[in-house]
């Protein structure tokens, strides 16, 4: 009897170990996760590497300029115009630039035009509906206006021959002093992508 119990325990342990060795926390094996930071060279349309490279280059240059200011400037990001012939989500580029600048601690951001409706809705809801405790409800008239406005554009030149397609992108960004109307910072990033057709 004792022998049977021992053998059973041993088999159980072996079974458990083999189960541990073969199991991974996945379901299915048809999909492979890739490196989101790798250089993407599938086609020469605007891609993830272009977005990441442009955003990083702009944020670093802007951050260095802002670091020279006496206090962290309050800025707002306006629209980046897409002047290329292809669809580019320019909001994704400005969002990445803004995230990097906030993370670096070099700038503060005021609510931009795109988010203003949500901001005023929440402000109005808290201050005028009477649903909230007076001590915790936010007050109207305390929003801070941005000192600087960041805006830009992306343009491209596309050339094709029978066997080659060449795309040149230029991303330009400027920062304007809202009160003075002067351009305080400007930066450009160029990218050339050539592919065989």
């Amino acid at each position: 009897m004792n022998m049977i119990v021992k053998a059973g325990t041993l088999l159980g342990v072996i079974g458990l170990l083999s189960a541990c060795a073969n199991s991974t926390p996945t379901i299915g094996s048809n999909v492979q996760y890739g490196d989101s930071k790798a250089v993407e060279r599938l086609t020469n349309e605007f891609g993830s590497t272009d977005l990441q490279t442009i955003a990083e280059s702009m944020a670093r240059s802007l951050s260095q300029t802002a670091a020279g200011y006496r206090s962290r400037p309050l800025v707002t990001i306006a629209e980046v115009k897409n002047k290329t012939s292809e669809y580019i989500d320019t909001r994704a580029i400005t969002n990445t630039i803004r995230s990097q600048l906030l993370k670096s601690g070099s700038m503060r951001f005021a609510t931009d035009i795109a988010a203003m409706q949500n901001q005023t809705d929440e402000l109005t809801r808290q201050s005028t509906t009477g649903l909230y405790k007076k001590s915790t409800a936010v007050k109207v008239g305390k929003m801070e206006g941005a000192q600087y406005r960041i805006e830009g554009e992306i343009s491209s030149i596309v050339k094709r021959t029978s066997d080659v397609k060449d795309v040149y992108y230029k991303f330009s960004l400027i920062m304007t002093d809202v009160e003075a109307g002067t351009i305080e910072w400007a930066e450009e990033k160029e990218i050339r992508k050539t592919s065989a057709r």
Partner: protein, 133 residues
């Protein structure tokens, strides 16, 4: 006699500074694979508005165009990462070209760095970060 002595001192000084420079570069560069033609041959640092600035010189020993990839790793005063994972960036060097890259640290907390570099053509089938080539 004096000229000879001065020349010797100058050569020793140049040799030492070259060796020190090579050691500095080696300690700051991490090659992914063994790049066949591209290598980092120069490195200068300075601080601008509290942010670390680098000039990285990359050389192509081949007479044809060569592509490489790089990204930076940033560390704080305690050696911990001061920034998230950067994207790999492509760089093209023409035949026999030396190119200087200017790199700016993302935050004033970044006090130290490492350059992670990969050539598109590596010895012994080492993978490069370029997808779907």
């Amino acid at each position: 006699m004096l000229i000879r002595f001065c020349t010797l001192v100058a050569i020793l000084f140049l040799g030492c500074s070259h060796l020190a420079m090579s050691q500095t570069i080696a300690s700051k560069v991490e090659y992914v694979g063994t790049s066949q033609y591209l290598s980092i041959t120069g490195l200068k640092t300075r601080e601008v508005n509290g942010l670390l600035n680098l000039i990285v010189e990359i050389a192509n020993s081949d007479t044809s165009d060569q592509e490489g990839y790089y990204r930076m790793e940033w560390f704080d005063a305690d050696g911990f990462p001061a920034w998230g994972e950067e994207a790999w960036k492509p760089i093209l060097l023409h035949g026999s070209q030396r190119q200087k890259l200017q790199v700016i640290a993302p935050t004033i907390k970044a006090l130290d760095f490492k350059i992670v570099f990969s050539g598109d053509r590596n010895w012994a089938n080492n993978p490069s970060p370029g997808q779907n080539q």
